[in-house]
């Protein structure tokens, strides 16, 4: 007796009791669907985080300087020197001076815009391009020009797309808009990545005080540790202590975030997988009932020459088929739910997070459901195969 024939027999039995089979499969369906959605969500989250980090540049290091009260201090000049000293590892440098005050355009106050004082290299470091007008220039830094470049959102929402040449105020300082940045996010939104403003750090330092954090780019992302070490060594020389500064790498932060997401997804998927085990036990339960119900059939088959392994094969394949069918339905439902989840997330949070089930997760879910069918079908099948044909024939 061939496997394909056992499979046909199994399908015949499954089709002949649809409701029961569906209820039997329910645990597997829910488990597989849940695993797929959760893994898909994790993937989407990871892609989202990676993308947002990538837009900031994973080859950047952030230097934060604490305790300005110390006699030993570091200003932008020193930082540029340090970067120049370590130019085998480090490339570009920009101070970042966060502005406290709100942006005022005419009589309107825009509270969501993040305004930052930066150097002429910052746009390149952050991977931004100018859509119209010009970017910040070295001369702006030296002359402390009262100019700024603005994000696409501000340009669109407050200047009707013609921001270049207009003026606005930040922290009481009037600035001329000299450039508009190209759109970064998928949509222009308040508080989003296009709701921003950059001015020369020298101008910003006059309003908000000296720079305390710097963004530095590495020449080669493969030498993160060396880059950090050389930077820290130079900083140590100045401060003679490592309490006053920290160097963080975007790549390391991304790695930390990703591993945290993976752990979270792993735990959630594990919880969802419990449902698979429960589903497997459900299958075993129904198969045991089925063996009892079909005792006479087993007796007849044995009397007609079925060997134990054929009976065994028939029941194991039936369990595995039921389970695999549940797995397939679960995969379809999981894919459907992923699409629904993507739509719902974009509705609620306006963030573009795509729940993407991976092929790996789908195959794994299918494999596990077949495996569970075989595992939990084994015991009932063994029971069926061991039945004494005489007793089985006279069973009512």
């Amino acid at each position: 007796m061939k496997l394909t024939e056992s499979l046909q027999l199994a399908l015949k039995n499954i089709v002949s009791s649809k409701v029961r089979t569906l209820l039997t499969m329910l645990g597997i369906i829910i488990g597989v669907a849940a695993v797929i959605v959760i893994v898909g969500l994790g993937n989407g989250l990871e892609t989202y985080v990676t993308d947002s980090f990538a837009s900031m540049g994973t080859n950047t290091l952030t230097v934060s300087v604490m305790s300005r009260g110390s006699t030993r201090s570091l200003d932008a000049e020193d930082m540029y020197e340090i970067v120049a000293e370590n130019n085998q590892f480090l490339d570009l440098c920009s101070p970042t001076v966060p502005m406290m005050g709100y942006v005022k355009i005419g009589s309107e106050t825009v509270s969501t815009t993040s305004s930052t004082g930066v150097s002429e290299d910052y746009l390149e470091i952050a991977g931004m391009t100018v859509a119209s007008g010009r970017g910040l220039q070295y001369s702006d830094m030296i002359t402390r020009s009262k100019v700024c470049v603005i994000g696409a959102y501000l340009n669109q929402a407050y200047f009707g797309g013609n921001g270049v040449g207009q003026t606005l105020r930040v922290g009481g300082q009037s600035l001329e808009v000299v450039g508009v940045l190209a759109q970064k996010g998928d949509t222009l939104e308040e508080g989003g990545s296009d709701d921003c403003l950059y001015l020369p750090y020298t101008t910003a330092e006059r309003i908000s005080g000296a720079a305390s954090s710097y963004t530095v780019t590495m020449r080669d992302e493969n030498y993160i540790d060396e880059s950090i070490a050389s930077l820290e060594a130079s900083l140590y020389k100045i401060f003679a202590s490592d309490d006053y500064y920290t160097v963080t790498s975007m790549a390391e932060m991304l790695e930390t975030m990703t591993s945290m997401i993976n752990i979270l997804v792993g735990v959630l998927a594990g919880i969802a997988a419990i449902s698979l085990v429960v589903g497997g036990i459900g299958i075993m339960n129904i198969m045991l009932v089925s063996v009892t119900e079909r005792t006479r059939e087993i007796g007849v088959r044995k009397s007609l020459g079925a060997k134990e392994r054929y009976i065994m094969q028939q029941f194991v394949i039936e369990a595995a088929t039921t389970s695999a069918l549940g797995g397939i339905i679960g995969i379809l439902i999981g894919d459907g739910l992923s699409a629904v989840a993507t739509a719902v997330i974009s509705q609620i949070s306006e963030e573009a997070l795509t729940v993407t089930p991976t092929l790996g997760a789908v195959l794994l879910a299918f494999g596990i459901s077949v495996g569970i069918g075989i595992l939990f079908g084994y015991l009932p099948a063994k029971k069926a195969a061991r039945l004494n044909p005489i007793d089985a024939l006279h069973y009512d």
Partner: protein, 247 residues
Amino acid sequence: MNPLIEFQQVCKYYPMGDSTVVAADHITFQIFQGEFVAIVGSSGSGKSTCMNIIGCLDVPSEGTYLLNGQDVGQMNKNQLAEVRNRFLGFIFQQYNLLPKLNLVENVEIPLMYAGVSKKERRERARKALEDVGLGDKWRHRPMELSGGQQQRVSIARALVGHPAVILADEPTGALDSRTGREVLGMLQDLHSQGHTVVLITHDNSIAVQAQRIIRLEDGQVIYDGPSDAPGAVVSPQIMGAERRARP
């Protein structure tokens, strides 16, 4: 000619609590190719045990059962399954057709376990159904048929693998007398075509349709001879008493 079925001092014991029930007590007989034998006895006489052993569903506790010269007592479960498949065709009182399968699928089961290809076994199963007069109903389910028709399907199933022995266990037990006679007629036809038929029954009027009767009582053979002999259908108690009186 070697016997097809040979019982040599076959005993069967069943443990029943602390004691042991002797279901077959040194039974010895031979059945040859082409015979039509009825094994008769009241309930508890050991005829079911006999039928289980002949049918290779059970093995003797003691003694030897040779089927076609092979010692069944020495076989393992798989070998027994193979012997059932190749040498024996069962006809049951309750027909024992599988309700979810249609007639041709029911009939082809023995061929499936024999490893016959799907195409060939379909053809042979259809042919076997035609032989019992149900060729046009092969798509039906057993429940759509009358009892007599179902028993004919089970005869087709018994014959499809060309077994050496047809083993019929109370084949008329669930049928009315008219259809019962029909089924008996079919068994007689099979016999006249050269098949070896072993009929197990408690009913003397059925047993006399066979060519030879083996009568059992309390696990022992008390009569073994032609069905038309004067002693064949005499009340077993009297027969038993007579035989025991002359050891």
